[in-house]
């Protein structure tokens, strides 16, 4: 996933057209009147949680800025089907829009998903797998170096590969 998504992100022009990239397209999924009440003085975050629970869409989300209890825009994150949910307090109306699927966006969402900042178990488990991937990459690099050193027959050309890679990387560090 990280290899393919990185390639796609490295060639945005090819997959998404020349910059600036157009905003993602949404299509209307459903629209309904919210039958419940909110506590007096409810914050945008509290409204978001209640609306998501009513829609049975509770899960990782963000609330769009600027925060306003009059119009709350909730971005419900999901790798395949992210949704934009808008609650308008004056009409008590909830609009649910689904992002039109695009392969490049799907890969980029997976690539960028990380961190332990959301209070959901699934999110924390994914973040833990991201950390596991980091540890695995470090182990693969270090054990690879060790295995190379154990093989005398490949030491010379291996050293050429390693030193030339390090030299090129150092050149980038100094020049970019």
């Amino acid at each position: 996933m990280y290899a393919v998504s990185t390639f796609v992100m490295n060639h945005r022009d090819l997959f998404q057209g020349p910059p600036p990239s157009p905003p993602p397209q949404f299509e209307l999924e459903r629209e309904l009147v919210y039958p419940g009440e909110f506590p007096v003085g409810a914050t945008a975050s509290q409204i978001a949680l209640q609306v998501l629970a009513m829609l049975q869409l509770d899960g990782t989300h963000t609330v769009a800025r600027p925060f306003s209890p009059e119009k709350v825009v909730i971005n419900r994150l999901h790798p395949i089907t992210p949704r934009r949910i808008t609650y308008r307090a004056a009409e008590k109306r909830v609009t649910v829009e689904r992002m039109v699927f695009a392969g490049a966006g799907f890969l980029e969402r997976l690539h960028r998903r990380r961190g332990f900042q959301h209070p959901y178990l699934g999110e924390d488990l994914w973040a833990a797998t991201v950390d596991l991937t980091i540890v695995a990459l470090l182990l693969l690099a270090l054990t690879g170096l060790w295995m190379w050193w154990e093989l005398r027959v490949t030491r010379a050309w291996g050293a050429v590969s390693l030193v030339s890679g390090c030299a090129l990387f150092a050149l980038f560090l100094g020049s970019m």
Partner: protein, 201 residues
């Protein structure tokens, strides 16, 4: 040379050549994954992130309502002798343009207030986590200079290498019958958990 030997050699030499990139992407993922921790740690120092280096009258001329803004950014960078930087130009509302110019080590942001014809320039304080995440996020072929293009080509090579390591790793694993059972369990449990995450996350 037999295929299995070619497979092992290419796996090894490509890995050794790209070791710095593998280490970079691994280490730089730590501040991405634990951003809150690094932010809190930096905040505790109480140091400003940005230092103002210029504020004053500056005329960028007419700003196009739509279309490319890059030439405007290039003019600002020329005037401030920062032509060696990679940069991006962004609209921060109808009355403001932001220009972000950076190297792996340094970053400068310009805020141009269109109606007032006023420019503010600020340098960002160096932070190791920004250095790492900046390198991690650097990519693409938008920069026309040859060295950044070479960096983007190297990123493609890293992507290709990962796919090759997976394919050649699978081939080497399959050649070792003693490891097939536990290897199968590892692959299928990894695939299954990935599918569950994609569907339920």
């Amino acid at each position: 040379m037999k295929f299995s030997q070619l497979n092992r050699r290419s796996h090894l030499y490509l890995g050794l050549f790209l070791t710095p990139w593998v280490l970079l992407y691994a280490l730089s993922s730590v501040p991405f994954s634990h951003g809150d921790f690094f932010e809190a740690r930096d905040k505790a120092q109480g140091l400003p992130l940005w230092t103002r280096t210029f504020e004053g009258h500056y005329d960028l001329g007419p700003i196009p309502a739509t279309g490319a803004l890059k030439p405007l950014g290039a003019k600002v960078l020329r005037d401030f002798h920062l032509e060696d930087r990679a940069y991006g130009v962004y609209r921060a509302g109808p009355k403001q343009l932001n220009i972000y110019a950076h190297t792996f080590w340094k970053a400068t942001q310009f805020q141009y207030f269109i109606e007032e014809k006023r420019l503010v320039a600020e340098n960002r304080r160096f932070r190791w986590e920004h250095f790492l995440t900046g390198m991690h996020a650097r990519g693409g072929f938008e920069d026309e200079r040859w060295f950044p293009v070479l960096w983007a080509v190297l990123i493609d090579l890293v992507c290709l290498a990962f796919l090759l390591w997976i394919a050649s790793g699978l081939y080497m694993w399959w050649s070792l019958p003693a490891l097939r059972t536990w290897g199968s369990i590892a692959i299928f449990s990894g695939l299954a958990s990935f599918v569950v995450f994609v569907l339920r996350l």
